[in-house]
């Protein structure tokens, strides 16, 4: 069980819950990627991590470049809409800055692994992988005979991270966390984890959360730390809060092709700032108009009536 007061600083949350050698999942499919948390992990110098994510994206590219990572568990290595993740490619192809072990699935394989992890199922059937070389590359992908006579069925084992970190629009102080927009695998990854850190755009009164319980995909029951971190997903986006900073995704392609530029970028934007507020200050000092540029218009959901019963 989790304590009642879970609001922490990012520094304390990472220092308390993320240890060298841990298996981590920082999830979020394109949407709401926990960049601020990842940078803090780099800054605190965590090492020998196993990082799990469907789409490692720029965040894991940066963590690999920083030397935090021993192993990657994933299903798609790409800079979405741009091209390669050059740091991860360098690590896999040339062991720079260090050798990188990989364990590879398809998207649904990863989804199924988190789902099985959350439910403590010994395996999850995916009806995939037949006729491919993926199960030759990864011996954890196996086949079982269907007891209903449908032949062999591809299965994957559960995935239970030591820590799952997700970024969300809002939570209450106890950790009841609400999501809208793309949901990715955040719910499954959180329930599958031993410990959960939630970083949010806003900490709201629990009355806001309780006015719409169907939107609470991660309940406080499984949450260990709540970190208020506005704009904590930049350069990714948060639905209704800010847009994706597509320019940075392009710029990272240029930076990450060169190990020297990459190191300099990490020095300047991660090690060289004390925290995410420092990163945001630097960002705004370079691009005064950035948040105006990334601001979406307003499109509110129509309310629904849950009703008052009794009382």
């Amino acid at each position: 069980m989790k304590p009642d007061t879970k609001v922490m600083t990012m520094r304390d949350a990472i220092a308390t819950y993320v240890k060298d050698g841990d298996t981590l999942a920082l999830e979020g499919f394109t949407h709401s990627i926990p960049f601020a948390a990842g940078h803090e992990i780099i800054r605190q110098g965590r090492r020998e991590l196993t990082l799990c994510r469907l789409t490692p994206d720029l965040l894991y590219d940066q963590m690999v470049a920083a030397g935090c990572v021993r192993k990657l568990v994933f299903s798609y290595l790409g800079n979405p809409g741009v091209g390669s993740l050059h740091c991860i490619r360098r690590a896999i192809e040339n062991a720079i800055p260090r050798p990188l072990e990989i364990e590879e699935y398809s998207h649904f394989g990863m989804v199924a692994r988190y789902t099985a992890g959350a439910a403590h199922l010994p395996f999850f059937p995916v009806r995939s992988y037949q006729g491919t070389d993926l199960h030759r590359a990864n011996p954890l992908i196996r086949f079982v005979e269907s007891p209903y006579g449908d032949g062999p069925v591809g299965v994957v084992p559960p995935l239970n991270p030591d820590v799952t970190i997700v970024h969300a629009p809002r939570a209450d102080a106890r950790g009841n966390t609400q999501f809208w927009g793309l949901l990715g695998v955040q719910k499954e990854a959180a329930f599958a984890a031993r410990q959960v850190i939630v970083t949010v755009e806003e900490i709201v009164d629990e009355g806001v959360i309780r006015s719409d319980p169907n939107r609470t995909l991660i309940p406080h029951l499984v949450v260990d730390a709540v970190v208020r971190q506005p704009r904590g997903a930049h350069p990714a986006y948060v639905q209704g809060y800010y847009d994706r900073d597509g320019e940075f995704y392009l710029e990272w392609d240029r930076i990450s092709r060169d190990p020297g530029l990459t190191a300099a970028w990490l020095q300047e934007w991660v090690y060289g700032v004390p925290d995410w507020e420092g990163y945001l200050d630097k960002l705004e000092s370079r691009q005064a108009e950035i948040w105006q540029r990334l601001a979406p218009g307003t499109a509110l959901s129509e309310p629904v009536n849950y009703g008052v019963y009794g009382g």
Binding site: A119, H120, L121, P213, T216, V308, G311
Partner: protein, 254 residues
């Protein structure tokens, strides 16, 4: 103060929740017991309902686990797939309450059928979520009235496995994460289970009840705990909470 059998069962169940944090709750007596525990021994107790509700704040006494008052103002409401997978199988439930039409010497429970399955004498409701609860919840507490019809040497049908044939290690060998039944609360006495034999044993007699009265309603030679106690009667505070706050209409506690 006078009290009813139901009030005694509620109080015994609530007290057994001391130190527990997450309970899977059925409607009726368990619901009142869990809420009583929140007011007394276990203020941080979290209630999970099979229907998909976590962190309910009902504005009235819910009449079923699907009552709309459990939904409005809850912390989270999810599908039944999520509830069973992420909460129950996921190992988040520390205690769950079950009822029983039959319960046997080793805590195995029947809620399916009396007589032959295909030509039943009495068709009972069936498992619902009880089978999964019995396997996955860390501890199971049974609430049931004492009766020779109910307490049988061997249940005719195992809906919800208890300690099986009693030999230690059987549950683990069958991949059951939960410890099985730990407590049976009745209107006459409370039972626990012997860890080495898996057998139900008389643990506490309600005031005025003799071991013979209990044995007369149990269909096998009943083991008695070496430290057999007399149940402490409901306190004034417990009764006040039940009568004034938790079940003011005496719907369940009468």
């Amino acid at each position: 103060m006078e009290y009813t059998d139901s009030e005694m069962m509620i109080v015994c169940s609530a007290r057994a929740l001391a130190g527990e944090r997450v309970v899977f709750v059925g409607v009726g007596l368990p619901n009142i017991a869990c809420n009583l525990a929140r007011h007394t021994v276990s203020p941080n107790l979290e209630l999970v309902y099979e229907s998909g509700v976590f962190g309910a704040r009902p504005a009235r006494l819910p009449l079923s686990i699907g009552d709309p008052s459990l939904v409005s103002g809850a912390a989270s409401v999810c599908s039944m797939a999520d509830l069973f997978m992420n909460y129950l199988l996921g190992g988040r439930i520390e205690v769950a309450f079950l009822g029983a039409a039959q319960i046997d010497r080793y805590g195995n429970i029947n809620t399916t059928v009396i007589g032959d399955y295909h030509h039943p004498q009495i068709r009972l409701p069936g498992s619902g979520g009880a089978c999964e609860i019995a396997i996955h919840a860390r501890k199971v507490y049974v609430i049931v009235r004492l009766s020779r019809r109910t307490f049988v040497e061997r249940v005719g049908f195992v809906t919800s496995p208890g300690h099986l044939s009693g030999e230690p290690g059987q549950r683990a060998a069958l991949d059951m994460p939960g410890l099985g039944p730990q407590l049976v609360v009745t209107d006459k006495a409370v039972f626990r289970f012997d860890r080495s034999t898996g057998e139900m044993m008389l643990s506490s007699l309600h005031p005025g009840v003799t071991p013979e009265t209990v044995q007369a309603e149990v269909g096998w030679p009943l083991a008695v705990a070496p430290d057999l106690e007399t149940t402490l009667p409901p306190t004034e505070q417990e009764l006040r909470l039940i009568r004034q706050e938790l079940d003011p209409g005496q719907l369940y506690s009468r």
